[in-house]
């Protein structure tokens, strides 16, 4: 199929594209000089309507004396993926920043700077993102030379200087986090409030950073990475296991057995149901509707029992591995599962109907924390956050994988862009998920559930895309030799969605802050997996003025 996107780019930037490689059907790689990347990315995302999927930097200094930076862009409506590859030579560790032209590249470039030591020239806010402030500035964990064997020497002089914005005197500062009853993982939002109104927001993340990518490169094999992938997130573990496995199987040109594909769909959709029921409960709690918390979680417990029946555990199912799935679904369990799914549907429907008719609940959700479609596209947000703002994107439908191509389902989209819209999108997503689980379990084909992967070639760049409950999970993989990955980059959906938080919070009331942040359905652990976490030094760390100014998005 002619690749219109590549053609358009070649036409617009003659001479900039140094090479075109078809890695796989619908996955094309373009070689660019680092000077050309910002304008190409800007054009691709803006005029050509692409979505920024991920960006990864890899250390190839041992073999090629260079670092490789890949931007991956996607076009959901065409099912296309484009890798824009550029190289940074050893000795000249810098590159022109894409962020001034395309703000969604912001976090990725900061990560590349702190973990690989490649400086994005012209980045408006090149502060540490995930590493803590007392991590030495000259130690780059994702370089191959860095051995993750002992805690690094922490900078003792890293105190904090809190630089306030110019008109700070007018406002009260309300710290939201790192520990707050409403958020379930540590993250630090700092609000400047005027009475109840939020004037500006500041964000410091990185508290849950565990260094999983480095661990996968150094200590894991192809077979064991799914188990660490599953623990990137407590709620969407299978999504990560699936994305990694997809990337690996595609790199090997391997098709899992049919039955395995259908079981994978059932598992992933069960996880989605669980995640959305959890979210509905948590969002209810945040607006003071405690009965909603109790009731949605009452129904959620059924899904967890079902998972335990089929996979052996309520969460962290351990099912999706390269080659297929680890357990088959016995006939009697399949029948129990189908009965249970019907019960869940009935209970959920009744509860959803009651909750959405509750006037006091609707009043708390309607018109709160709006995100316009233009902003949603500009920041390349994904999942229910995007779909509630009118952007229709769904990796199951647009980049079909496993058995989704053979299943019937809808992707709900709404245009209001407020918290109520996000609630409704997730609520209907849940109905669709239940439908999918039923279809998958009712029509399970026969056959084996696992097949061995004969050979995984080294040095293959591959992508895995999975539509998780929070949006598209993008795993970027470069295979290595000796049964290990060379580079594994996890881009969880929350990583793309969190940067929209300051935009949605400004001008809103403090009362709504919890539910607005909650409406992203943030999985902070998902967003922070790279590099090693060091010991807490016990000293309080606050963001600097630069970071503050940078977040006045």
């Amino acid at each position: 199929m002619k690749n219109e996107i590549v053609d358009a780019l070649s036409e617009r930037f003659p001479g900039s594209i140094r090479g075109v490689t078809e890695l796989r059907e619908n996955l094309t790689l373009l070689e660019l000089g680092k000077e050309d990347v910002p304008r190409v990315v800007e054009y691709a995302l803006g005029s050509l309507g692409g979505t920024h999927m991920t960006m990864a930097g890899t250390d190839y200094t041992a073999s090629l004396d260079q670092y490789v930076i890949d931007h991956v862009l996607g076009w959901y409506d065409r099912g296309l993926l484009l890798v824009l590859r550029t190289r940074v030579q050893k000795g000249d560790e810098s590159f022109p920043s894409v962020t001034p032209l395309a703000p969604c590249a912001d976090w990725y470039e900061r990560e590349v700077k702190e973990s690989l030591g490649l400086t994005p020239v012209g980045h408006p806010n090149p502060r540490k993102l995930l590493l803590s402030d007392d991590w030495p500035d000259d130690l780059f964990p994702m370089r191959k030379g860095f051995k993750n064997e002992a805690p690094p020497p922490l900078r003792r002089d890293a105190g904090f200087t809190f630089n306030a914005p110019e008109d700070a005197g007018m406002f009260n500062i309300v710290p939201y986090g790192p520990y707050h009853f409403a958020i379930h993982e540590p993250i630090y939002f700092r609000f400047h409030v005027d009475g109840e109104r939020i004037a500006s927001v500041d964000l410091r993340a990185g508290f849950n950073h565990r260094g999983l990518e480095k661990i996968a490169e150094t200590r894991m094999t192809y077979e064991t990475v799914p188990f660490i992938a599953e623990r990137v997130c407590g709620i969407c573990g299978s999504v990560h296991a699936e994305a990694y496995t997809q990337a690996l199987e595609r790199a090997a040109g391997f098709e899992p057995p049919e039955r395995a594909k259908w079981i994978r769909v059932a598992i992933l959709e069960m996880e989605r149901i669980h995640s959305h029921l959890l979210w509905l409960g948590v969002a209810s709690h945040m607006v003071g509707f405690d009965s909603g918390l109790m009731q949605f979680w009452r129904v959620r417990d059924r899904i967890m029992f079902l998972a335990e029946l089929l996979t052996g555990n309520r969460k962290q199912y351990g099912m999706i591995v390269p080659g297929g799935v680890r357990r088959d679904i016995r006939e009697d369990k399949r029948e129990t599962a189908l009965r249970e799914v019907s019960t869940i549907l009935r209970e959920y429907e009744e509860l959803f109907d009651a909750a959405l008719r509750l006037g006091t609940l609707k009043a708390r959700l309607e018109g709160v924390g709006p995100l316009s479609e233009a902003d949603a596209r500009r920041l390349s947000v994904t999942g229910p956050l995007a779909r509630a703002s009118g952007v229709s994107m769904d990796a199951r439908r647009d980049y079909p994988y496993e058995a989704y191509g053979q299943l019937e389902f809808e992707t709900p989209v709404r245009g209001e862009g407020d918290v109520l819209a996000r609630t409704i999108v997730r609520a209907y997503d849940t109905f669709e998920s239940i439908k999918l689980v039923k279809q998958a379990l009712e029509n399970l084909p026969g056959g084996p559930v696992h097949a061995p992967i004969e050979y995984i070639p080294p040095d293959v760049t591959s992508m895995g895309l999975v539509e998780g409950p929070r949006g598209t999970d993008v795993h970027y993989l470069i295979t290595g030799g000796e049964d290990t990955v060379y580079r594994w980059r996890v881009r969880a959906p929350t990583y793309a969605n969190l940067p929209a938080a300051p935009l949605m919070l400004r001008g809103q009331t403090l009362a709504d802050a919890s539910v607005i942040i909650g409406s992203i359905d943030p999985c902070i652990s998902c967003a922070e997996r790279v590099i090693v976490v060091d010991e807490a030094s016990g000293r309080q760390r606050l963001v600097s003025g630069d970071e503050l100014r940078g977040w006045r998005a």
């Binding site: 309300v174 209810s284 609940l361 403090l510 009362a511």
Partner: protein, 304 residues
């Protein structure tokens, strides 16, 4: 002043208040398909808090050590002005004092939030003040209506054979609605909003000061819940009740307490939390209703 009845009231208030809160927790739980804690749980919670150490927040002044005790004292003092299980009250003419203590304790609670210097405490305190300014007038007006109807500022159970009429009914309803807001539970826990403000004014208090504040809030709620009884006992024919402990009074007291608790639990389990905006609108409506009741008392002939 009848010291014996005062002592009886105070002891009963301190013992019963956590129990009433426990009952609320159980009823709410049952409405959420849960078993809930034992009814005595709130006693256990206070006892546990008393065993812990007091850590005053950094940078706060001496007020943080004074205000919790003050909240408790003011709440207990409310029980000097009303009768509980006896027909007489400890003092005469306590109605106005009751109203003043109710308002004062609300403001002391708000002050406690601000005194802690914690931004969440300050926001919670300011919310509490805004709300108190809106709710207290309804309480004032509906209590005033009761006082006018009964023809006496003494809040005791002297039966006066009041006819059951519209003004009494409207005033009772207005009072019940106002008192719902005082409980500090959903949908009216705007000040404490745990998931928004991490507890608001209570946030910086722990150990014995927190025990004092919590007990103070429980006792205050119980005092406010003790008023509907007077709407009922006023209906009884004159001379039907003797002096001292009265079974009828106790029965009516328990019934009105139960009514209040059930209303609070229902509200708590069947709605989301109000924001200031929605709460203000609600209270404005309740104030209007209580004013209507007062006007009706004077407008409807034979109501008094």
């Amino acid at each position: 002043m009848n010291v014996a009845i005062l002592a009886l009231n105070v002891v009963l208030a301190i013992i019963a208040a956590p129990l009433i809160d426990g009952l609320r927790r159980v009823i709410t739980a049952r409405l959420q398909n849960r078993a809930g804690p034992p009814v005595t749980q709130s006693w256990h919670d206070i006892a546990k808090l008393l065993r812990k150490e007091t850590i005053p927040p950094e940078g706060a002044g001496f007020l943080v050590s004074v205000l919790p005790a003050l909240t408790l004292t003011l709440s207990i003092a409310m029980f000097a002005t009303i009768s509980t299980v006896t027909t007489q009250s400890p003092i005469e003419g306590g109605g106005i004092v009751f109203i003043e203590l109710a308002i004062l304790s609300a403001f002391v609670f708000a002050a406690a939030g601000s005194a802690s210097r914690n931004p969440y405490g300050v926001v919670g305190g300011s919310r509490e003040v805004i709300l108190a300014t809106l709710v207290e007038p309804s309480i004032i007006v509906s209590l005033t209506t009761l006082i006018v109807l009964r023809g006496s500022t003494t809040l005791d159970d002297a039966p006066i054979g009041l006819g059951f009429g519209v003004p009494l009914l409207v005033a009772a309803v207005a009072y019940l609605l106002s008192v719902l807001a005082e409980g500090g539970r959903i949908p009216f826990d705007v000040a404490e909003a745990e998931s928004e403000l991490s507890g608001g004014p209570l946030m910086e208090y722990g150990g014995p000061p927190l025990a004092a504040m919590k007990l103070g809030l429980y006792v205050r709620s119980l005092a406010l819940f003790s008023i509907p009884k007077f709407f009922l006992t006023a209906l009884l024919p004159p001379g039907s009740l003797g002096e001292g402990l009265s079974v009828t009074v106790i029965a009516l007291y328990l019934a009105s307490l139960l009514l209040c608790i059930i209303l609070v639990s229902l509200a708590e389990s069947l709605s989301a939390r109000f924001r200031l905006v929605e709460a203000s609108r609600f209270y404005a409506a309740v104030l209007a209703l209580s004013l209507v009741a007062l006007v009706l008392v004077y407008a409807v002939p034979g109501a008094r």
